[in-house]
Symmetry: C2
Subunit: 241 residues, 2 copies
């Protein structure tokens, strides 16, 4: 039972994520650090998915007993928060503003999708509330700047952030499980009669047109086409301030 929580009002893990280090205390010095533990967890998740980042596995990787981890982290939930922030990591250096807000938003969204697709276990992490950890906030800050550069006013900034990041997340979710051609065909054949019967004319048209679900090939096309309404949305609230 970890008792070093200096600010119990904060969501779990928040203080630790910002590098809060309690003042030196009495007993023997810790043989490891929270950063080491989180790094091990990231490695395990990268290797074999989120379920692989279990406390026993992490402990084995670090070289301690499962229980020793509870000296560094008060619960699995807290470690999950740290894992999420570490999994996102800092935004790529190339995301600095180019002066063209459309390019900024486009590159930001692409970077998010790429990160989520290269670390699909980030999609499995339970997320609630607003991001309050350093890396995730760094990503948000960049998006905020891009929107502000476009001329979006204060009252529409949160909305634009929610729209753009929501689109990025939804795109990653859709592309995260690349369907094999056989699967796609099976789904199509299975769905078509049901859709007709249910009167889902729009869906039926998309399925018949092969646009739904998107196959792995047209990742880029899907992304680019989806980005257009997003950019139009930002521009829409930016113009009429």
């Amino acid at each position: 039972m970890l008792d070093r929580d200096t600010t119990p009002e904060l969501p779990p893990g928040t203080a630790l994520a910002w590098g809060a280090t309690p003042p030196p205390r009495r007993g023997p010095k810790p043989a490891h650090t929270v950063a080491q533990i989180v790094a091990a967890a990231v490695e395990l998740a990268d290797a074999d998915g989120l379920a692989n980042a279990s406390l026993p596995n992490i402990a084995h990787e670090v070289g301690v007993t499962t229980n020793a981890l509870y000296r560094y982290v008060s619960s699995k939930e807290e470690l999950t928060v740290l894992l999420a922030d570490a999994g996102w990591g800092p935004p790529p250096a190339g995301l600095a503003s180019s002066g063209d807000w459309r390019s900024d938003v486009r590159r930001w969204t692409r970077a998010v999708v790429e990160r989520l697709l290269s670390r699909t276990w980030l999609l499995d992490l339970p997320m609630r509330g607003d991001p309050v950890t350093p890396h995730r906030l760094a990503w948000t800050e960049l998006l905020l700047r891009a929107c502000a550069l476009a001329g979006v006013g204060e009252e529409h900034l949160p909305g634009c952030v929610t729209m753009v990041s929501g689109f990025a997340h939804a795109t990653a979710v859709r592309l995260a499980t690349p369907a094999t051609p056989a699967e796609t065909a099976a789904v199509r054949d299975h769905l078509a009669p049901h859709l007709d019967r249910a009167g889902s004319v729009r869906l039926a048209a998309l399925v018949a047109g092969g646009r739904y679900p998107a196959t792995a090939e047209d990742h880029d096309a899907f992304f680019a086409a989806g980005l257009e309404p997003v950019l139009a949305g930002v521009a829409g609230v930016a113009g009429r301030e």
Copy 2:
């Protein structure tokens, strides 16, 4: 090991979700149905979150042994797919088109957010790929119609759907854990110095202005403000066909 899978190419649970019933077979008739099991799971999740919908709990609720469930469902994953579709349920009847596409999109988005906030365990379900279950597709069909009514062309329909539903999902995620005033204040006080030090001027301004994170009071304002760029985005790709 359930062997009744008629179309193994389909994602797990898909066939069952559409009510696939294998032809009558030899042994004793099942004492229960998949629908009963899923209903019990929904009830448990509604009562105490997704973790409460465990196989032992579901089995207890239904009145059988844990293992008997494996005669109806081949794995927990498959049951999770069914649980997701049942949790969404059919879209409310009031979502039929009003003739005004803006109203349609607005009401659709609001309905999604409301459903997600009244069943926050839907946010905990692992989601990948495109929805292929009946209720979720019914929701999508309605959104597609609203976008088509706005004049969005075929090539932009998937993008608009992704944008709008992504926004709805992201909004629900942000509002799902209502922060107490004390928590909000604690986060604010804790974050402010870090943001200044990191040069996150935009975030610092939002935090200082009290707009970030949103408190429980301004759910509606947050939602309404966020919806504006979304509607502008749909309008943006609808006009220039």
